[in-house]
């Protein structure tokens, strides 16, 4: 039952019910989204034991804050993934003892043709993909590595053998290009 596809409106409804203390709705939301969110936090934290703890914290926070979700502002999965990323990033940056070499196979950027990628190809996702494709390949990879793995400037600097200041400039320029390209 984990990771079953659920329509956006079902998740919106579930969040409304969770805000009123409905545990059945909470279970449904967990079943529909925990595989996705665990993927997010495992990549950022690089350690399963930490990821287990952070995933619990994420869902406790969802339980407490479901009433703050606003369907007009974001999709449920974006809202949930933002909570998960922020929790995982806070924990990862606090510890700074992750070794990326622990799990080199994890350091892969999912491609568009990745059969495991089950994302909905909605309009926003297509536009973002198109804008990412307009970046130079090396910079596109940097952006994705940071987003998926929470790599610091120092880690990237080591990885690509360029000064930290160059990493910072590249990232800022790439982000500005993405913003211009999206036109929002």
């Amino acid at each position: 039952m984990h990771g079953m596809p659920v329509a956006r409106q079902d998740l919106v409804n579930a969040l409304e019910r969770i805000a009123r203390g409905d545990k059945a709705a909470f279970e449904l939301l967990y079943a529909a989204t925990s595989v996705k969110l665990y993927g997010v936090v495992v990549r950022i934290l690089g350690r399963r034991d930490l990821a287990d703890e952070v995933l619990q914290e994420v869902y406790i926070r969802v339980w407490q804050r479901a009433g703050e979700y606003d369907a007009a502002t974001s999709s449920p999965i974006t809202w949930l993934a933002t909570i998960a990323r922020n929790r995982a990033l806070d924990e990862a940056k606090r510890k700074t003892m992750r070794s990326l070499d622990d799990s080199p196979e994890a350091l892969q950027i999912p491609g568009d043709d990745d059969p495991r990628a089950t994302h909905e190809r909605n309009e926003d996702a297509r536009r973002l993909d198109a804008c990412l494709d307009r970046l130079e390949p090396e910079k596109r990879e940097l952006v994705l590595l940071v987003y998926y793995y929470g790599m610091t400037r120092e880690e990237i600097s080591d990885r690509i053998d360029r000064p930290v200041s160059t990493v910072k400039t590249w990232l800022r320029r790439s982000l500005a290009q993405i913003k211009d390209c999206l036109g929002q």
Partner: protein
């Protein structure tokens, strides 16, 4: 670089996930103080959000949901410690244990500040440019103002180190105590000489965040920050800042 560019860069870097722990804390404080900046962060979350959705998921261990449910059920309090105690502590013991631990830490911290022989009862914050990072070659992380708080006397002294004159504008200093969502004004600060204010007492101020905004001459007309946050810093015992 303009103020808008600074906001955009910092918001984008925060959402992308490249900032270090200190920078992330600065951003989280600033979001509460600066609506324009908070809006920029939200816009970046929306722009980059589809990326999270293209990740293949990973199946979590089966015990997680039960653990979440038992922690929710046992929550008398709404406060969940992020670094949770060991899992064998469950139920009310967890909540009691966590709050007792937090109280002990706060007491020890207060004791260290107030009672330790030789402790001057002083807190210091270096205010540096909001969004500055340690690796910039020009050293913008260096202090622009230094704030010293004398806890016994209940006074804060703000010393300009490298403040620029801002004709027609005033620097205003704000304190955001632990757990608060809105800042309190300490007062308008001179950019050329030291300024002293009363400093509120209470444990929740011992590791408070400080922000400096640029306000209309004479200070914010509303009692809340109205101008851009240009400098940030955290109060800490000397040598720990």
């Amino acid at each position: 670089m303009t103020e808008d560019d600074d906001i955009e860069d910092l918001a984008a870097e925060y959402v992308l996930g490249v900032l270090d722990v200190t920078e992330r804390r600065d951003v989280e404080k600033r979001r509460k103080l600066d609506a324009a900046f908070d809006g920029a962060v939200i816009a970046w979350e929306k722009r980059l959000g589809p990326l999270a959705d293209r990740l293949p998921g990973i199946e979590p261990p089966p015990h997680i949901f039960d653990a979440v449910l038992s922690r929710i059920s046992s929550q008398g309090a709404q406060i969940i410690p992020f670094s949770a105690p060991p899992k064998r502590l469950t139920g009310a013991r967890l909540a009691i244990g966590a709050s007792a631990l937090a109280a002990c830490i706060a007491l020890v911290f207060a004791w260290l500040l107030y009672a330790q022989p030789g402790s001057p009862g002083t807190l210091v914050a270096e205010l540096h440019r909001a969004g500055a990072t340690a690796d910039e070659p020009t050293g913008p992380r260096s202090p622009v103002f230094v704030v010293t708080v004398d806890l016994k006397a209940g006074k804060a002294t703000v010393r300009p180190v490298a403040a620029r004159s801002r004709p027609g504008r005033s620097y205003q200093l704000w304190v955001l105590r632990q757990g608060a969502s809105t800042p309190e004004s300490l007062g308008v600060v001179s950019q050329s000489e030291s300024t002293t204010f009363p400093f509120p007492s209470g444990r929740e101020y011992l590791d408070a965040g400080l922000t400096m905004t640029l306000e209309p001459e004479g200070g914010s007309p509303t009692g809340r920050p109205t101008g851009p946050v240009i400098l940030v810093g955290n109060l800490a015992p000397p040598g720990n800042s």
